[in-house]
Every structure is written in C-alpha cells, then in structure tokens.
Symmetry: C2
DNA sequence: CCCTGTGAAATTATTCACAGCA
DNA sequence: TGCTGTGAATAATTTCACAGGG
C-alpha cells in the first residue's frame, strides 16, 4: 500500500461537482463556528451554504461518514475533515504574476490568508513596477520566477497579466514547476496535462447575466 | 402559458451549460476575426475556445443552424447570432457597489467596455470615498441607488463590498429594480426568485486548485 | 469528400425517499 | 423521534458516430 489513505475517502473518487462545493461548505462551517454552536444538521448547513440538504448529504458521503444520526454534524470534526480533503492543513504558498490593478487588488485581498493561502511572491516585467513593495512584498522581475518558486515551494500561481502575455507567463510557470494556475486573463492557456488550470473571466460572468436579463425581458408571451 | 417560439432558438431551451460557454465562443470569434479570416470550422473554433468540437457543435445547434456543411461557420454571422442570444446587441449599463481595491480594479478594467458592458455608476458608503472620481465616474452614496438605477436603466449590478455589507446592498439593489447580481463577496445572498445571482469567490477557486495539488502529491498508485 | 447537425449511448449530477442508527 | 447515509430514479451533460447537405 504505497500511499496512506487515512480512511473512507479516496480523493480520486470525489466528483468534480462535489469538490467545487466543498470550499463553500467549509466557509459556512467557519461562519457557524463563530456563533459558538457545536453541531449543525444537514439542513442547517445546507441553508448556510446555499444548497439543498440532499445534495449536501450526498456530497459529504463521498468523504466518508462523519455525521451523527439524529443530531447532525460536529462542526469541528467536519471542518477538519473537509480541510484535510482539500489539502488545506498545510499552508500553500501562491505566486501572483501581473501587478496591474487586478493583481494589486488580489495581493491585498485579506480573504486569502484567512483561508489557508498566502501570496508568497509577486512578479511583473514593467520596469516601474519591479522593485516596488506591495503589502510588504517586493515585486520581482519575472526572470527570478524559477528561483523563487523553488525556494518558496510554490506550486500554485495566479495570472493577472494582459491576455497577450498570459501564455508566455504560463509557459514560464510550468517550466518553473508550478502545477496549478488560476487564470484571470481572458484567453485559453495551453499547458501540459499534469497542470490544472482554472479560469475566471469577469466579462464572461456579466455576459451570462446578460443572457438571463435578455430572457426575462422577452418575458411576456411570444405568440407563434 | 402558450409561449411558443417563432424561429430558430428559444432562449428558454438553451441549457445552462451551453449558455456558460457562449461567451467563450464569442470571444474566440472576435480573436479569429482579427486575423482576417471569414470562416472557421467547428474544430478550429473549438480549439480557439478550449473545448472539443462535438460539444461546440452541440452547443451551437441549440441556437439553430448557422453553419455551412463542408465549410464551417461564417464568423460574422455566428458572432451576430451569439451576441443576439446573449442580449449583447443592446449596451447594458452596470452598477458597481463597493469601491475598495477590487471594486477599483473592476471599475478600471478595460475588458468590459469592449464586450458590451459599461460601468455606469459607482456606489459606496464610506465618507472618504463618496464624492471622489474614478475613471471619470463619480462615486455616489448608496442612498442614491434607486434614483440612479432608474435614471440609467440599470438592471445588472456588481457587489464588491465586504461580506457583512453584501446582503444589505443586495436588498437595496433588488428594491431599486436590479434583477441580476454578480457577487464577489464571500457570502450567500438571499434574493427573490426573479433575481439571478452569480458568485465569484477567489478563495474558493484557490481551494479547488489546492485539492488537485493535494491529490497530485498523493500521486503514487493506490491499489484498487 | 469535408464538415455540420443530431439522434442515440454513455457518463455525470441531482433529487427522491426511506432504512436504520443514535 | 430526528436526522444521516444511500440505493434507486430522474435529469442534465458530454461524447459518439454517422447521415446527409454543400
């Protein structure tokens, strides 16, 4: 048995849809924990996370059984369990490339540190940005990437560059050993199969909302 | 009621998964148009958009048939068609509430204007922000929301406030007549059923990547 | 022929509904 | 009795594979 598998849950078997909701559950658990209560029912947690309770129970069942029938879930236990599955028990260092407006906003975003992440290094190529200090972190030149990634043990990076630079940056990141990328540049990245990419495109989100607006405005009946 | 549709595509019948990809196709089409070519095959467009061609064809089939067999799609025609379905032929005014770091970054994000959106108004409640000017737009007090939303014909809003303020802001937006919300605050919003909410949570995206990192690091094989 | 459009099959995700334990 | 965990039913999405038009 090569890799130790703690109990019940093989990460390989957790469906993507479930994985994408686990962070929401974790966040809801943190919020509930602050109110001082010790346990929560699937219905209570589901409401706090904005899903229905059947889906929540099914999701949690993929992690193994950690609830108490007739009572609910122990908030501390479930928090630990989900953090464990998500790999958040170990602090993860993140590199951010592209210190424009969005990059600066993310670099200063308090929400990361509270949730298991720390921006460990900032990179850019603009002469007037390299060397400045942001939130206590120096902005380094992209040329130092490989060195810093290795020194800081970074495996996750965020790209907030203009789209034309993004592919080149992604190539550098991959060469430096980064294996997960969060891409805010509106373009498709071409990376090796072992590298995970998630994309956030702000304009796309608005366009999806636009579709729904449009649909609503055609609301009345459309006669044949 | 008898909501029958005249021709081509009933927006009601376009699956969510397809809607969420249409903006990507549109973006890819714009990029291709800049190269000067007039038509593109499903395979070519699929690569540009980062999906496989069967999925792309199935998606486009929901809009009606706009391809030419043996040739591909006319880029101009398909661009118009998708823009139409997404409701982007009419310019949509967007309000942004919460002019912190992220809000400022979004207010200055050029990507919106190019893609059919304009930030039409900025709101905040902090004394030292209200009255300042950002990118040529004045930051108004949240109290003016209803008035401005009505005057500017705004139906879409972006929330970039701290989570504790977000629900209150959402309530105000709904009262003012906004029916689509893009929420960057890490919290669940409670809104009426006719209001669409999309949520973008930056920490959640990182946590999902963390899961995949964690999985990779347990790499060795676990025998069945 | 080439490439679209699409039924049919396969896969994935959600919801139901209830057995069984605390 | 209340609530979890889960098979079974349903729904949504993706993929296959090929008929048929240009």
């Amino acid at each position: 048995m090569p890799t130790e598998l703690p109990a019940g849950a093989d990460p390989r078997d957790i469906p993507d849809a479930t994985v994408s909701r686990l962070p929401e559950y974790l966040h809801a658990l943190h919020t509930l924990a602050e109110t001082g209560i010790a346990t929560v029912s699937s219905e209570g947690l589901a409401v706090a996370a904005g899903v229905n309770s059947a889906k929540l129970r099914k999701d949690l069942s993929h992690l193994g059984s950690y609830g108490i029938r007739g009572v609910g879930y122990d908030i501390a236990v479930l928090t630990t369990q989900i953090s464990d599955v998500l790999g958040l028990r170990q602090h993860r260092a993140v590199a951010l490339v592209g210190v424009g407006h969005l990059g600066q906003a993310l670099a200063g975003y308090g929400g990361f540190a509270n949730r298991g992440f720390g921006i460990a290094a900032l990179f850019d190529i603009a002469e007037d940005r390299v060397g400045t200090v942001l939130n206590g972190l120096p902005v380094r030149h992209l040329d130092e990437l490989a060195e810093v990634v290795s020194a800081e043990g970074i495996s996750i990076a965020v790209i907030t560059t203009p789209p034309l630079a993004a592919q080149r940056v992604a190539d550098s990141l991959v060469r430096a050993g980064v294996t997960s990328i969060l891409n805010f540049a509106p373009c498709v990245l071409d990376v090796p199969g072992n590298v995970d990419v998630r994309k956030v495109d702000l304009a796309v989100e608005l366009q999806i909302l636009s579709f729904h607006e449009h649909r609503k405005s055609r609301n009345g009946k459309v006669a044949t």
